[in-house]
Symmetry: none
Subunit: 189 residues, 4 copies
DNA sequence: TATGAATGAGCATTCATTCAT
DNA sequence: AATGAATGAATGCTCATTCAT
């Protein structure tokens, strides 16, 4: 039991920012939009986050957790690593339909950024690395592949995932997702 | 025979814009930068292009021609379609090294755009469609695949290309390009 | 005869800024005040001046000319250098009364400035150097002093001027100006 | 005996503020800088001081005591009033070198202040009046001057002091201080 | 055709101060 | 007495676009 009246100013800022950054774009989103949606005063926002860039970093960190969990939940019923990997393309299909093929929040934010903003690219790299690691661990669990094969295959599957997300965003349909899944199935026999 | 005194105002604008849009980002590039690099007056620029968006459209159209030709030139010595497709990943490697893994100008511009800018996404879709068509025509030339197989394979290879470009941009190395090439080779036997 | 309809936007900006910077203070004056008094759009202002600091530099340069001329005009009837120097304290009295003992625009602006603003201090140094040079030239014209005496005396008189202006600003009366004049008379016999 | 656990919250605020106000400037110094240097919560600060202005007043009062004592200590070995006055220019030289010719904290604060801040100018006037009084008392001790002469001379010497401090601040050297000393010696024979 | 001047709306950020606890 | 959280107003500056000539 808590005596707090208003729930989390910081949370509200992050929620508004997450929504706007993802669906409108980082550069399309102004601080004013964020605070007006969050119903927070401007200076309050700057007490919680040093800069717009810092909000983006927090947004991406949160998004990483959220997205990975969403995927893992989706795949919870699958029995083995190979199945999980292949079904992850079904997850992409489900998810990207849900967000109207808005694509990957991490891909979308690095492509149009001031040269000096290094913190954001770092989180993006981290997210993709973690996803790659998960794929590798699924392959490892299959007890079928050597370490070298795991490293190569996990990167190949990452390429499929990235390409599928990007191409589905461009074409606003799921054809690329289906193609990627087919391709992945061939790779894993 | 032309009566123009100064050579190509429009060309100069387009050249500056192309460089800035690609290497700095569309949102990072201001009209003032473009005109100052092009050494053109602001109103002159608006006489040639209705808006920044229109410059981007012209930039992308030009970029499509330039990029396709660059690739085709690179592949000119290859004898058949299959080889050309596989070697296209060598082209990506060569090209992306050259531009410091700045990624695809078409991918990069659609991810952070005002919702009302529809002309830019259209050119992006066109470019990717044309590339897909080229892949399909290469597959067709191999006389090995059915129409259905061609449609499916060409999309799968597109996924590999898009993913490889994006992932190499994120990680600033060519590992994803090599992975994509390996994967492509498996697909085409 | 000129075809201009509106008289000088740049002039209006400078005039507003000069007034506000001098009578309200540099830090007390916002860009918004300047443009609203000058009836100029913000971006128009920034087309003429790169920054607030640059406006201040232009203001001080103009002020230097204006102030020196004002003083020289005041002293025009005096016959020789010694008289002109001594009467310059009468000028200070006349002038500072006129501006309600607001003090010296150059002194007032250097005392509370961001550490990185070097252009403004430079103009201040220049102004004081020019005033010192004028005093020296007046002493020289008297054919009474050696070069060394001129250098020393001119600086001593500068000290009197600076101190008189500052102290009259603090006390909001002309007592210091009278004291400085007496002192100057003693110095020049 | 005091029950305070932490030593001097108020003292810490004042110490930080004094440093920042003098070396960075009143307008350049934000409340946040003061409290972060003083390691004091914002609301705690506002419990001790009603406003930034009030901190400045306290700072100046403290500075007056400190500065006068510093000067008197410096002059302690001098035997008579005339010597003390003349040597006070040596003190200025010593002191201003020490603070990198940052000038007079009292002069520096009045030149760029909101029009409604009257308490600060009052303390400045007080400080200069006290200094003038000290000079007068030194002259009086010499038993050489009439009351009228004392009043006039003390103001003249004040002009020299103020001018020397200001000019040395502008030029960032001690030439004006030496000139003022020479001038003072002439005045006092 | 070409241009320099001008604009309103918006940008991210910081200000001194107050409130609820 | 002490504090972390919150605020409205203002800061200096940049945006893509249009106008008058």
């Amino acid at each position: 039991m808590t005596t707090k009246i208003k729930p989390g100013v910081k949370e509200r800022i992050l929620q508004s920012a997450a929504d706007l950054f993802y669906f409108e774009g980082y550069n399309q989103t102004g601080i004013n939009q964020i605070i007006s949606e969050a119903k927070v005063a401007k200076a309050s926002m700057y007490q919680h986050f040093r800069s717009k860039q810092d909000i983006a970093v927090a947004y991406l960190q949160e998004r990483h957790e959220m997205w990975m969990n969403m995927m893992l939940d989706f795949l919870a019923t699958k029995e083995n690593g190979i199945e999980k990997i292949i079904s992850s393309f079904d997850f992409l299909d489900y998810w990207l339909n849900d967000v109207n093929f808005r694509g990957c929040g991490f891909q979308n934010i690095i492509t149009d950024l001031p040269k000096d903003q290094v913190k954001i690219p770092e989180v993006v790299v981290y997210h993709k690395k973690e996803l790659t690691n998960w794929i590798a661990s699924m392959l490892d669990a299959a007890n079928k592949y050597s370490d070298e094969e795991i490293e190569q295959l996990s990167l190949e599957i990452m390429v499929l995932i990235e390409g599928a997300i990007m191409l589905s965003q461009i074409n606003k349909d799921n054809a690329a997702l289906l193609a990627a899944k087919r391709c992945c199935e061939k790779l894993l026999k």
